[in-house]
Amino acid sequence: MSFVFYAIAALTVAGGLAAVLLKNTVHCALALTVAFAGLALMFLELDAQFAGFAQILVYIGAVAILVVFAILLTRNAETPKDGVYSRNWLAGLVIAAGVFAVLGWAVLQSVRVLPHETTTPTVTVLDIGNALMGRYVLPLEIVALLLTAALIGAVIVAMHEKERAK
């Protein structure tokens, strides 16, 4: 755990906190991109180039943009009258803590299950590609199918309103 790790971790956590605590919705979205960028840096720090760049490409390039687009198209960025905090924040906190506990448990478990590696494994993009096209081709296809279904669904939702307008 080096200084770089702590610096990136602080950046990521600060971005995440700002995303929930800031008043202006667009500021929240921008803070979220800071958190995404921090995660990407974390991947790069761990020498996972592909994951890091994919994180930037997908989350900053697409997800963050979609979020701001959704905010701008649905309502203005002004703070609502009754504040930004949800009334049932306690339930949200419990669910978040639960998810975090499960993830943390899984990560800690994996340390015990996997053999302790002394050398850092070198994984190239070629290896990832081979794994995706070989061993994990079925999950990949399922994800692709899911995304296509979502796309068609989005088109149908958009089309429906148009027809009603006529």
Binding site: L30, Q49, F53, A54
Partner: protein
Amino acid sequence: MIETIDQIFVLLKHWLVGFLPAGLQPVASVLVSVVAIIAVFPSLFAIAVWMERKGLGRMQNRIGPNRVGPFGLFQPIADGIKSLTKEDIVPLRADAVVHFMAPVVLVVVVFMGIAVLPMGRNMTLVHMDSGLLFFFAMGASTELSVFMAGWSSRNKYSLLGAMRGVAQMISYEVPLLMSSVAVVMMTGSLSLGKIVEAQNQYTWGLPHWYIFTPWGLAAFLMYAIAATAETNRSPFDLPEGESELVAGYFTEYSGFKFALFFLGEYVGMLSISGLGTTLFLGGWSAPFSFLGWVPSWFWFFSKVMLSICVFIWIRGTLPRLRQDQLMNFAWKFVLPFTLFDLLVAALWRFMGDGWARWVVCSVILLLAYALMGGVGMYRKHFRVRSYRYAE
């Protein structure tokens, strides 16, 4: 001698770094390269702006800048000084922090993309296993800057410009990525260095550039269209259409922040031309094997500047598209054609050597082009338009 001239910048760097103690050398080496990039690309930006103003002037029967220095060559310097001395105005209701961050984010991200481009033999700042992905990751981040600029200005023109800009960049990013995937499929690597190496071979003195294959030509054309749209250049310059939106997302920027946007846009153009050069035009390799003695960096930069000339030429030739035409063109023609081109590239790969694959792939692509174009043009009648008020 030839070797020395080819490697002159690398040798110069080693010589400079050699003065420092061994412990500092790796850091200093990176710093020198970064300084070189930060010095070279803004100078190319200045030259490109001068070329654009002169070239457009010619096309529009004007003279263009001709007052500062010979042929107006020092005009960019005068412009730079002017923008530095101008007052920096931030609108009263603007979101000051985001308004300030937007040009900074743009310039930083655009310069980072350049880091992976091989600008000559042994002239890559960062050798990355997934350099292409890094470039696109950086390119995708520019959209955020466009949004930040447009939203934080609190100006309806800025916001409209930003919405147009982001929508357009998202739409054309898909074909941009897809057209480069064909190259990745053929090379079997995301590393830009390896992509150039794969093209740096000659048969009968002619290079193995990807543009000289049927799938490569199709992918290059689609890449060029998508790149023009990504950089918001005419005919896809709706986000800053001055007749409708003043200046689009950077309407409310003045002084040096405006200059930064300008710089970001042109350096983005240079870097995306650099990537196109690397992917399809053989990067730093010479166009004929007998020209191999000319330094590799000369080829890279001349190809990039040639692409800039094409950008300028297109800007002087084509009128601006309408928003719906722009979107339809991206999703109904460019994207399907790039996807189809991927299939053709795979076919090319598996047909093996020989003349058969040239014929088959060319015919398939031409048919696909005619078919898709025909479907797109179905029941659309184009004729010479006449305007009552203009006659």
